[in-house]
């Protein structure tokens, strides 16, 4: 049995970010993770720290994402200084490519709408025509169908495996106790504190934070919260490594610092199936070649399927239970983008009870029809 102040349940990027942040306030923290069998989005994702296009319909989320993007460079430096691990974070800005004139017009309209909804300065995407795009991507030829792109100066990309490793190392350094193979069976609220059971261990804590992605739903119910999240599969293809050709990430195409290209972004409603399909792989590779025809020369070396953690509006949930005060849920499809804020801005809320401004917008009551 372990006694601690705060128990963070879910040791992926979100859990490790939250645990690190609260531990920096000097409280005792333990971080529990399900281990190898978890459908772990932290390991399967595409590696974007991305703002562009986020927050349509929820301006607070657009601001929150932008704040995260602005915090990222310092956060990456901080993690490297603390742990010696580089996350390969770079912030060259990002493209959202448009194929055909109609797509370009639609993209422009959505940016105009976001700009109208948002506070001044929080949506500074620009629309680039084909020629302007070509000037920023000097080493690859654009496909015929490319009409242009929207460009956001805030976005970056990184090695998400290195990020998870760095976060876990930073946690260890600051004294967080990590239990990597402890799937949680039950959480109960008794006399103002929480009892958490795994199949072999029993923990007591003043507060619990559920950060276990797709595993949140059943545990949240035990602390009086209904969190409607579902898995959505995305497949990713990896090419052989090549010399640096593309600096800026796209939603669907990026080149890693090691030289591999990643192609991604399928959106499949297939439950917890993490498999791959020839049909989607063909589509993803076909799209990449449509954007950059020369990439057809690269051999594919690996592919996988990973599960996104989606709320009905794809935006984060931050909530403390009313019936079991001290139980928190933190979940987002954008655990990498938001990592600096999950480490730096949630600890005051979780430890002291002071939520960031406008946080009520992230309450899951917005899903109650």
């Amino acid at each position: 049995m372990g006694i601690t102040d705060i128990l963070v349940i879910g040791g992926g990027i979100i859990g490790a970010s939250v645990a690190y942040g609260v531990a920096e306030r000097g409280v005792r923290v333990a971080l529990l993770d399900q281990g190898g069998s978890a459908p772990n989005a932290s390991r399967g994702n595409f590696g974007l720290a991305w703002v562009q296009g986020k927050g349509l319909g929820m301006p607070r989320y657009a601001e929150w994402s932008l704040e995260a993007a602005q915090a990222w460079p310092e956060f990456a430096t901080h993690l490297r200084e603390q742990t010696g691990i580089s996350t390969d974070y770079l912030r060259p800005g990002s493209f959202e490519v448009c194929l055909g004139e109609k797509a370009w017009k639609a993209r422009e309209a959505s940016i105009v709408q976001m700009r109208r909804e948002s506070a001044a300065g929080t949506c500074d995407c620009e629309m680039l025509d084909r020629q302007a795009m070509r000037e920023r991507i000097p080493k690859l030829r654009l496909g015929e169908a490319v009409s242009g792109a929207s460009f956001s100066p805030h976005d970056g990309h990184l090695n998400s495996l290195a990020l998870l490793t760095a976060l876990l190392a930073a946690n260890q350094k600051i004294g967080v106790v990590h239990h990597p193979e402890q799937p949680v069976k039950s959480v109960s609220f008794q006399k103002g504190s929480f009892e958490v059971r795994t199949s072999t261990k029993h923990f007591s804590a003043q507060k619990v934070v559920l950060t276990c992605g797709l595993g949140i739903k059943p545990l949240a119910r035990q602390v009086g919260l209904e969190i409607p999240i579902r898995p959505q599969r995305g497949q990713i293809l990896v090419t052989e490594r090549t010399h640096p050709l593309l600096e800026q990430p796209f939603v669907t195409i990026r080149q890693t610092q090691e030289g591999s290209f990643l192609f991604g972004a399928s959106h499949e409603e297939v439950g917890f199936d993490t498999g791959t399909t020839l049909e989607e792989m063909r589509r993803l590779a076909g799209h990449a070649v449509q954007v950059f025809p020369e990439l057809a020369r690269l051999q594919l070396v690996r592919c996988w399927g990973a599960l996104r953690i989606l709320t009905p509006d794809t935006k984060p949930v931050y909530v403390e239970s009313e019936s079991c005060p001290g139980a928190f849920v933190v979940t987002s499809h954008s655990g990498i983008t938001l990592a600096p804020l999950h480490a730096q801005r949630l600890s005051e809320w979780i430890v002291e009870g002071v939520a960031p401004d406008g946080f009520e917008q992230f309450h899951p009551r917005r899903f109650d029809a």
Partner: protein, 98 residues
């Protein structure tokens, strides 16, 4: 780089690596045979340009990629030698950096 720990069991074969003959034995992998013959790297990292050689010997690290009989990106640690194989270090699929 590698030494055979016991006398080769398989039939002797000839590989052609960068147009040079290499003695190998049936049952050996291409990567092992090349390293045993004194070849000291199989590829260059496309980003840093540093020399690389097989690391995992089980098909996951992709440090052993070679062009074998005209096929690029062959995982030479997983491919058994055959007589008269033509093997080259591979040029970049995307051409050389400009």
């Amino acid at each position: 780089m590698l030494k055979r720990r016991w006398p080769p069991q398989g039939k002797a074969v000839t590989l052609w690596f960068e147009e040079q003959p290499i003695l190998a034995h049936e049952g050996e992998s291409v990567a092992a045979a090349l390293l045993a013959a004194g070849v000291d790297y199989l590829r260059s990292a496309p980003v840093s340009g540093t020399a690389r050689a097989p690391y995992c010997w089980m098909g996951v690290c992709f440090e052993c990629l070679l062009e074998i009989d005209g096929q690029p990106n062959q995982q030479s640690c997983l491919i058994a030698v055959q007589d008269e194989m033509r093997i080259h270090r591979q040029p970049s699929s995307m051409g050389e950096p400009s």
